[in-house]
Symmetry: C2
Subunit: 386 residues, 2 copies
Amino acid sequence: MNTIKTKIKKLKEVSGSHSPSIATLINDIPQLEIKVDACFLSNPYATDLFMGHLEEDLIKKNRLRDVLEFYPPQNKDISAILSKSLQVNPENIFVGNGAIEVIQAVLHRFVKKKLCVILPTFSSYYEFANDETEVLYYHLHKENKFELDLFDYIKFVKDNAINNIVLINPNNPNGGYIPKEQFHTLIEELKHLDNIIIDESFIHFAYEDVDMFQVSNEELIQNYPNLVIVKSMSKDFGVAGLRAGYGIMASNKIEQLLKTGYLWNISGLTDYFFRLYSSREFQKQYDVVRKKYIMNTLMFLSEIRSVHSITVYPSKANFALVEIPEGFNSFDFTMDLLIDHGVYVRDCGDKVGLDGDFIRVASRTFEENLEIINAIKTVSQLALIN
Amino acid sequence: MNTIKTKIKKLKEVSGSHSPSIATLINDIPQLEIKVDACFLSNPYATDLFMGHLEEDLIKKNRLRDVLEFYPPQNKDISAILSKSLQVNPENIFVGNGAIEVIQAVLHRFVKKKLCVILPTFSSYYEFANDETEVLYYHLHKENKFELDLFDYIKFVKDNAINNIVLINPNNPNGGYIPKEQFHTLIEELKHLDNIIIDESFIHFAYEDVDMFQVSNEELIQNYPNLVIVKSMSKDFGVAGLRAGYGIMASNKIEQLLKTGYLWNISGLTDYFFRLYSSREFQKQYDVVRKKYIMNTLMFLSEIRSVHSITVYPSKANFALVEIPEGFNSFDFTMDLLIDHGVYVRDCGDKVGLDGDFIRVASRTFEENLEIINAIKTVSQLALIN
């Protein structure tokens, strides 16, 4: 058992500030039996839906070769397709080889001087900053349940003469959410900044009413040209291997990007995905599984909160930040879940800005969530006994 | 028929300096019957080989979802895999979302001051240059059959105090080839430059002996740290929709790139492709179809040279630059091939540095090549009668 732990520690060290992928784990440690990947933040019901369409459209009709063999359409052609479903002008849509390509492009090309990053957050937002950028950190506090104090944050940005900010909404790794009304106050107050980068990669899992209508702030690009909305599709659809994402931003930024690059950055399969995603029929089917998954996640979060001796922080995303029992180390806790129960969660021991021992647990299918909860219950109890 | 011509003209206008893809053509002009895509520069036998493996490994074993759902390995993990088949250190391999991503990264991050580009060439090499770069053009001449005069070229670079050069070997669109010995002279003479960018995307189709051993200059990175070799896999394998390419360069360049980006730029399917490509068994199978295709291309080039009234320029790639009968316009010639014969070739009317009317014709399967030759014969004859 200790050899597995040592191997995983090594894999973790070479993965930088990200977890080793499940493929890497399975490949390098074949004796490991992973039953639930609660590290991966996606809606598995949407993956089922997408794979079903792909099977019908490409495999059964023998059309897979077509999307692999030939050059995919250019970036702007895919923006035009996506425009239909997003109800945003195609000139404001930049399609990316995963959201991370959009993040990289924006940070490298448009962000200069100061960038305010919230901690804890997705590490690429400070790791990808270029040499011309000074990163300033605004800390979320455990005492405030890691929730953003909007006015204190706005004051921090103004007091420090910050000209670029980035926020993930809902935030990763805690799931804290800025509702639409507050969001509007924020961008109105920070109209003068060069870039307001908002990562909405988890927003399909948020809701503001009982009908769970899909929330988005994308339409605000019309009135706030400094807004940059980054959107990954890996979370909503569990298609991280596809590499699909996009950015909503001022048209002059997109013109600059396309002038000297990003010609064929989208694969044929991702092009197929975006076409499917833009069809009205698929949107209807997707909305059903999106709501089903939100319901499932609500039940999951409610159950996990009932586990004795752990603390679960407020989340409107498809995961929860969990503080484990005192005296227990997050790496050991993660290893016990993995080795004894086959449940892989994110050890947040390396997350900058998290003071204490935390893990991040993703909501999966209903059945998998039961496994996750049972595993966490058992490991927490053992932790208390030892 | 004229409406089709007008539609294609429009599609061409919005495609910039690249041809509209066959998917775009089929989508926008459904009445068009395309029998042979002689615009697309790939080995169709290798596509068959790859698709066969993919069918066995992913479709039949129901493993396609695995490569689409989960995060792919990070850039450096894929370099390590590729290293085995390339016999280059992993620290010198940068894996790209298509060769074009490597081109963009190198031009944006490492090229400053002057860049010498050969004309005619692949347009992205000057279009992607950043604002800090002055592009100087070295012209190939029809009178010299578009072949590179090595010593004149070296003199041009030195006389103009040029610090970066880019060459495609074999060159696109004419197929001119710099043999290994001359190549060595070139990089030795230009040791002092900041970057010698060599695009070897068509080098699997070149040969220097009767056994058609695979040529490459990748190993020279050990002794020439200013060398950057760019390699697309879209041509050898006809997998342009996959987006797969790589660059061989000094390790400090790759460290700089990975420090602030390119974390998950490879899709799960491309990762599968690179793993397959790196296996010894696949390499053996690939070498058979590579040689078969070279033989096929040699026959094709020999046949096409026999067509009266056209001029075919020397090529060691899988295509030929063809000058069409005098008085005939390259767009009309291309349209006659497409509309009357279903053969789609590249109209070079927009290629900067080509003085006259040219088309570029790709070699396809043996059967398709017969169709191409017959079509060109017929259209050329009609051109002479009219």
